[in-house]
């Protein structure tokens, strides 16, 4: 049913429709509204037969989910930012044990300096932990991806992260079609665990594995994600057939046919990118974009097919791999090995810095004029950088960078102006 709801609420209702039996909650902005919503549904009985557990840390949150999943029930939790780093050890453990937990990430920057706004540093930090990572472009997709995620996770016995841009999606009210329970039940069968802690058929899970087998165990995790490359499009297709809309899949192209320049990006920024693409097209520029949904597994072949014909690729990333630059770019480049085309990385939107259509258009203009470097920073305030570097050159005790800059901007740590 079509409704105008907050993104977090849409995700919460979608998760509830998946009939989870254990939900672990630990508050961290901007994920909190999701578990708050679920908590309410458990309490008022809309989500029956589900245990909602308020834990004492993110580490405990995922650990509880590990226990409940191993005991054979559908398990869910959500986190963000520092939270996913705090549970990092358990993130690897869940995938190592092959437990099909679904976890929402309300994408947010990582401190210091502490920053509650959106970027992708958090989920990117755990990108190689053996979880499947899906990035939502809209709240509709955020909701739909959770339904697909449980199906995918349980088929492969592999945990899945659904990454939803903090605030931009989680706190945005927009139109979302929330499916009915029957529709979801028809798409998502009851959880049939591969392994379970069962007193009538005891096993030991989580053995210590030495050099003689560890390598193979790791490889098999990789093999699961290879299989996911096939299943993700199939599940998306089946979803489209049942629910009548496109959601998920490995990636989505926009006006890429005959495009000379193609922008690749994850998550909600693809909306603004499409606006920019349309404007460029209106100006007669052959520009297109690719929204990468499945970052892990990384769809090398699909990406190659989407970009193969272009002259240049601009990868827009909401995470700065300090010391190298882009992370998504590496995968894109790998997908294009052997194909000679210009590749540019653009780091944008860190710590909630707005990515505006205007900035994107001028970026694409410069791209068209081949003015982009290998690594570029969108709307980075060079003047501020220069002043701080000057300070540092001037005196050893130049003071805390973040506070210095805020002083320059004449803003207070709390106040955030819209533009």
């Amino acid at each position: 049913m079509l409704r105008q709801v907050e993104g977090s609420q849409a995700v919460a209702e979608a998760v509830a429709l998946c009939r989870p039996q254990v939900i672990c909650a630990y508050p961290i902005t901007p994920q909190t509204h999701i578990v708050e919503g679920l908590g309410e549904m458990v309490k008022d009985g809309r989500l029956a037969g589900c245990e909602f557990i308020n834990v004492e840390s993110e580490f405990a949150a995922l650990s509880v989910a590990i226990g409940s999943s191993a005991a054979g029930v559908r398990s869910y939790t959500a986190t963000a930012s520092q939270g996913i780093l705090y549970m990092a050890e358990a993130v690897y453990n869940a995938s190592g044990l092959g437990l099909p937990i679904v976890m929402t990430i309300g994408n947010r920057a990582i401190g210091a300096p502490i920053n509650i706004w959106n970027d992708h540093s958090d989920s990117m930090a755990l990108r190689d932990a053996g979880w499947i990572q899906l990035y939502a472009e809209t709240n509709q997709e955020a909701a739909d991806l959770h339904i697909q995620a449980f199906r995918l996770a349980e088929e492969l016995s592999c945990p899945v992260m659904v990454c939803v841009d903090g605030f931009i999606l989680t706190h945005a009210y927009e139109r979302v079609d929330i499916p009915s329970q029957d529709e979801v039940d028809a798409y998502l069968p009851p959880f049939e665990p591969v392994q379970v802690l069962d007193v009538s058929d005891p096993v030991s899970m989580g053995a210590m594995v030495g050099p003689e087998a560890f390598f193979e165990v790791r490889y098999l995790q990789h093999h699961k994600q290879e299989r996911a490359l096939d299943r993700i499009p199939e599940l998306a297709a089946e979803f489209a057939a049942r629910f009548g809309r496109e959601s998920g899949g490995l990636l989505r192209t926009y006006r890429c046919e005959d495009a000379e320049t193609i922008v690749v990006a994850l998550g909600s920024v693809n909306g603004t990118i499409k606006e920019a693409v349309d404007e460029m097209r209106a100006r007669g520029q052959r520009v297109g974009s690719v929204a990468l949904v499945s970052f892990r597994p990384f769809p090398l072949a699909a990406m190659r097919a989407a970009l193969g014909g272009a002259r240049r690729v601009v990868v827009l990333e909401k995470c700065l791999a300090v010391g190298i630059g882009g992370i998504v770019s590496d995968g894109v480049r790998k997908s294009l090995s052997g194909i000679a085309l210009a590749g540019h990385t653009v780091i944008a939107g860190l710590g909630g810095r707005a990515i505006t259509k205007a900035s994107l258009v001028s970026l694409l203009e410069r791209a068209a004029r081949d003015e982009l470097q290998l690594l570029n920073f969108l709307d980075l305030r060079q003047d501020v950088i220069e002043r701080e570097l000057g300070r540092e050159r001037a005196s050893r005790r130049s003071g805390p960078t973040a506070e210095n800059i805020l002083r320059d901007l004449g803003a207070t740590a709390a106040g955030a102006s819209p533009s």
Binding site: S63, V64, S69, V199
Partner: protein
């Protein structure tokens, strides 16, 4: 202590079994068909107190529940020596996740059992002192505070043995470990204020807290039997000597544990809803030296000119226990 009052049976209830006792009065460990939850072939050291304590506890739990027990194990010696691929020694559904999250994983299993309507299946979390009093402490406290339906058993061998005997918050003062060497002007572990996790557990007002020792099987089994039947968060802290880490003879494991109890250094008691309800009265009290000198980790206190000052401080700790718990 609810050990049956000793009728005169030659050995009463001190021995594991006693042919003169009625079948139902005998220890689970005396049973010919006991479950051996921790099976032969495990890789624990010779005379391992933890291997002993774990089998005692889990066998008792299996006996009390008709084998409906699931265990969650923290990283540590017990986990490593019991489940090295390709073999496991466990006879029950068992899972190892991480070092510091056993209590939380157990909360998850318990929640799952509740969701499945299987409250008959009892959930046990177990770990060493490191995984319990240090790195797992947060999850433990959370599990207590929520009063989750989990029995947490800590096998306390007073240091990180798995990694080569490093100091933990359960390591006693003056004890030599790899990170508190017996050198300098305060050899061994420094005297801190102590971290009495059983008392901390009691401060959570959980329904059941107990300490036990491998030197007192009946008492241990009895406590597990009682604890497993109670709903909510429960904690049993079992003292398990480690021949390797303590530098005691493998054959002395039980003797050492006994001396710890009889010296008053390891008080054995029971508490319900935060209040001590029973304690083991010392049967043959001994000075702490009797206990300490069995262990090379305290060797620097003895020798030609014994460190009488330190010995006195340790004796004072024992005396304080004896006074506080009315041992």
């Amino acid at each position: 202590m609810s050990v049956q009052e000793v009728k005169f049976y030659q050995t009463g209830t001190f021995t594991v079994g006693n042919r003169l006792l009625a079948e139902n009065e005998r220890a689970v460990q005396a049973n010919m068909r006991r479950t051996n939850s921790l099976n032969s072939g495990h890789r624990a050291c010779q005379g391992c107190g933890e291997a002993l304590g774990a089998r005692y506890a889990i066998d008792a739990a299996m006996h009390a529940t008709g084998d409906r027990v699931v265990a969650v194990n923290a990283t540590g010696c017990l986990e490593v020596f019991s489940t090295p691929y390709p073999e496991t020694s466990w006879q029950i559904p068992w899972i190892h996740s991480l070092f510091g999250n056993a209590a939380a994983v157990a909360s998850g299993v318990a929640a799952a059992m509740r969701a499945k309507g299987r409250k008959d299946v009892r959930v046990i979390a177990q770990g060493g002192d490191g995984g319990t009093t240090d790195i797992g402490f947060g999850c433990l406290s959370g599990m207590f505070e929520r009063n989750d339906d989990v029995l947490y058993i800590c096998y306390d061998n007073e240091a990180y043995m798995n990694t080569g005997v490093q100091r933990s918050s359960a390591t006693p003062p003056a004890a030599r470990t790899a990170t508190t060497m017996a050198v300098g002007d305060e050899p061994g572990n420094r005297f801190g204020t102590g971290k009495n996790v059983p008392l901390i557990a009691m401060a959570h007002r959980i329904p059941y807290v107990a300490t036990a020792s491998v030197a007192n099987l009946r008492d241990l089994e009895d406590k597990v039997r009682r604890a497993i039947a109670i709903e909510g968060a429960r904690y049993i802290h079992i003292h398990v000597p480690c021949p390797l880490g303590w530098g005691s003879a493998p054959s002395d494991t039980i003797k050492v544990a006994r001396m710890a109890v009889e010296s008053g250094l390891f008080p054995v008691f029971e508490a319900e809803d935060g209040v001590v309800t029973s304690r083991y009265k010392l049967r043959r009290p001994v000075p702490v030296e009797e206990y300490l000198k069995l262990q090379r980790r305290f060797a620097h206190l003895f020798g030609k000119n014994p460190d009488t000052a330190t010995l006195a401080r340790i004796q004072a700790m024992a005396d304080q226990n004896i006074g506080f718990f009315e041992l």
